[in-house]
Amino acid sequence: MATFKDFRNSIKPNWCPGCGDFSVQAAIQRAAANVGLEPDDLAVVSGIGCSGRISGYIKSYGFHGIHGRSLPIAQGVKMANRDLTVIASGGDGDGFAIGMGHTVHAIRRNIDITYIVMDNQIYGLTKGQTSPRSDVGFKTKSTPEGSVESAIGVMELALTAGATFVAQSFSTDLKELTSIIEAGINHKGFSLINVFSPCVTYNKVNTYDWFKEHLVSLSTIEDYDSSNRMMAMQTLMENKGLVKGIIYQDKVKPSYQDLAHGYSKEALAKVDLNLPEEKFNQLMAEFM
């Protein structure tokens, strides 16, 4: 049995001291060990940006792709080998700006992977520009007079896109975050986990203290039922999206892999590639 230490390597992350991403990395390592994975059972696929570096900091198979495309790559990995646990990860720019098209379609496609977004509401690696998660009025290098575009309510959007697992967490709540990631890995279908992971260098508004003040834990809401989509939507809207916990989970809907017609139960990567001659002749005869 692997422990979280087995998911560590010797690389020192190039994140700023105090960056929220350190905890997200630790939570992924702990969750992987807690659900019983070995490092070679796991593939972490990441996008581009500060948080995109995470695939190199976890000892597992890692694929650091291109900006905004962690989800299609991760879905391809999972389709090729359904025995692997696949985690896609990246920042809010990666997932909700350049990669938003993929995010929405990955949600509705419902392939059994876990998507962890490190949401800091700013572009960090390019030194502080606005993100689709930045609030109206937020001043950045690219919005010196304050952002005039609305922030995307990604949790609400995920619900309308047909998500089967929607959760939000905060990087300092290592214990809760770890258990949500475990639940995401165990969920049979696509799980979206948005993690508020403050940028200590470029976002002086949405700080650790700001989140502590504004985030509402779903565990404090009486009779909150995460299987109730309507309640999930209403709670999100009432709290301007600033909630944490498992917001919604559909435990009934089968994953894409279970619905795809003819899709092999055995990992495709292990299936014999050779086409028998008789079958080949049959395929040719269909054109005659």
Binding site: I11, H64, R69, M79, A80, H102, L273, M284, M288
Partner: protein
């Protein structure tokens, strides 16, 4: 008796013009004739003129013909647009419903047959196509029974009654034509064919079949003309082998998903046309940089931008060779026949895995969609080679301090051992960032140079079967004709005509576009006074590539066509004569 003729059916899109041509061609293919078809269509589903031109021959043919023997018209527009293509003494059969007329100055024979009326009398006007096929049979002197097998197959699901009605429509069409013409007319009777069984397929079918035979088990793609048939075939067939196809949200997802699946060890492809390839360019660079095998089909169509989506062009050449920023090793291969398209599809998969690179399988609309008779394919030529992919599930311990596998180990041939996720002791990192031997990001100058050299070294010893198809009977030729993709047939047809005029003509059809087979082309060019490069684009891209790799600019001349239509043999002949 004749050995070949051309037949065309035309009308409004959505009127069943394609299926009319299809039934006619399939029936003749079954009798052992060689068929070659060209569809004129627009980017819309209903309305607008469309036609399907089919050449029938007793010997192999890979080009449309200059003229036309028989024109079947479902509207006057079909006659107006196509009548000038008819040969002297050609036949027009029009639906009497629209009172067909032909220009008086043309020597063509017009027959007005009540296609719609006969069909309606039999129950539904939809069968007017069958009446037209019957009239065609009468012209050709083919027994109506020739169609029975095909009609039975097409309408089997609808029951014996429907089959019977359709056969009756064919019979009535033939009878009516004979009444009008007073029996068989001269000059249209085909010699008997060899009766051999051949496939009747488009290039996209052959490519898709090649992928199934070559071990593809997953595909991610986005629909586009003229590539969608590849995806549609795999959607039908892959589930039989446990595989599947995902229709993605766009071509960026299609390409990156294919990269993810290839990385994880499944032979995965994607296919598209120019606009899709433009979107895939960044991902091609990722495949090159991460050394993840990838095969992408580009079915060229008229560009730029949306261009001429349903028309022939060969203008993606430069984009395919040079596309993606930075420098990666890449192979661009260009089959020139449907048979080659099949074998090349298999080989593209092997090359991608052996060299761990992206491979572009380039076709053009006419090769991808031109339906034709194809000899049975050779199963024994299908082989699966996966190069340095480690087949074991467990690897020995590594000496890396983090236990990482050296996925990008610097080797003599530049190709590193490859493992896939899930293997014990195979953990490594893959990134589009420059990296060291275990895949960890590295900006160290010496490492950068080593890894760049390693990647680019992979293609130095590329083994490629027949990079140039050569027909070079002359040691000193007046003309060397050079082409790629679907122009092969038209060039082959032009050559005997040029030779009949006393010109000595050699032919080189380039199948490996990149890395360019410079040595082979140089020896061909040395033997020719003039080099004429035949290509469907406006800037002479292949000619420029030739000049860049071989020099001898003064000899190299352009023969270009970019109006959306494939070359006719007569155009090649005429322009060659002008150029020399």
């Amino acid at each position: 008796m004749i050995d070949q003729l051309s037949w065309k059916v035309g009308g409004q899109q959505g009127e069943g013009i394609d299926s009319t041509g299809e039934i006619f061609a399939m029936a003749l293919n079954r009798q052992g004739y060689y068929l070659y078809s060209y569809r004129h269509f627009s980017s819309r589903i209903k309305g607008g003129h469309t036609n399907n031109k089919i050449r029938v021959s007793t010997s192999e043919t890979r080009s449309i013909s200059d003229d036309l023997d028989i024109l079947i018209a479902f509207d006057q527009e079909t006659i107006d647009v196509n009548v000038h293509e008819l040969r002297d003494g050609g036949v027009v059969i029009g639906d009497s419903k629209f009172n067909p007329t032909v220009p008086e100055d043309l020597n063509v024979r017009l027959y007005s047959v009540p296609f719609t009326e006969i069909a309606s009398e039999l129950g539904t006007s939809l069968m007017k196509n069958m009446v037209a096929i019957g009239a065609t049979s009468a012209v050709l002197g083919l027994p109506v029974e020739s169609y029975l097998e095909v009609v039975e197959e097409i309408f089997a699901r609808k029951g014996a009654k429907v089959v019977e009605k359709n056969m009756e429509a064919i019979q009535k069409g033939a009878d009516r034509f004979n009444e009008l013409s007073g029996g068989q007319i001269d000059g249209f009777q085909l010699n008997k064919a060899d009766g051999k069984k051949r496939m009747f397929m488009i290039g996209n079918d052959a490519i898709a079949l090649g992928f199934v035979a070559g071990g593809v088990r997953f595909m991610s793609a986005y629909p586009i003309t003229p590539a969608s048939e590849i995806m549609e075939y795999l959607i039908k067939k892959l589930p039989e082998f446990g595989g599947t196809v995902i229709q993605t949200e766009d071509e960026i997802a299609a390409c990156t998903m294919a990269i993810g699946a290839n990385y994880a060890g499944v032979r995965t492809i994607t296919s598209s046309a120019g606009p899709g390839l433009s979107l895939m360019m960044e991902a091609l660079g990722l495949s090159g940089m991460t050394e993840v095998p990838l095969v992408v089909v580009d079915t060229q169509r008229g560009g730029p931008s949306t261009g001429l989506p349903t028309k022939q062009e060969q203008s993606d050449l430069m984009a395919m060779i040079y596309g993606t920023h930075g420098e990666i090793p890449k192979v661009v291969m260009a089959p020139s026949t449907v048979e080659e398209a099949f074998y090349d599809a298999v080989e593209a998969l092997n090359i991608a895995e052996e060299y761990q690179i992206p491979v572009i399988l380039l076709t053009d609309l006419q090769l991808s969609l031109g339906k034709q008779s194809v000899e049975p394919l050779d199963y024994s030529r299908v082989e699966i080679r996966r190069g340095k992919l480690n087949p074991k599930e467990e690897l020995p311990d590594t000496d890396d301090k983090d236990g990482y596998f050296k996925r990008y180990e610097v080797t003599e041939d530049g190709i590193s051992p490859r493992v896939i996720p899930g293997m014990k002791n195979g953990i490594h990192h893959v990134t589009g960032v420059e990296h060291d031997e275990t895949g960890k990001p590295s900006e160290v100058a010496a490492n950068r140079q080593k890894q760049m050299d390693k990647r680019l070294r992979k293609l130095q010893n590329l083994r490629f079967n027949v990079p140039v198809v050569k027909q070079a009977p002359h040691e000193e030729a007046d003309i060397l004709l050079v082409g790629f993709n679907s122009t092969r047939g038209v060039i082959e047809e032009a050559i005997p005509r040029l030779e009949a005029d006393g010109l000595k003509v050699n032919h080189a059809h380039i199948r490996l576009i990149h890395p360019f087979p410079a040595d082979e082309m140089k020896s061909m060019i040395d033997k020719a006074k003039n080099v004429i490069v035949v290509e469907n684009n406006a800037t002479g891209q292949l000619a420029n590539i030739l000049k860049m790799n071989v020099g001898q600019h003064e000899k190299i001349k352009n023969l270009l066509k970019y109006d959306g239509n494939p070359f006719l043999p007569s155009e090649v002949v005429m322009k060659c004569k002008e150029l020399v």
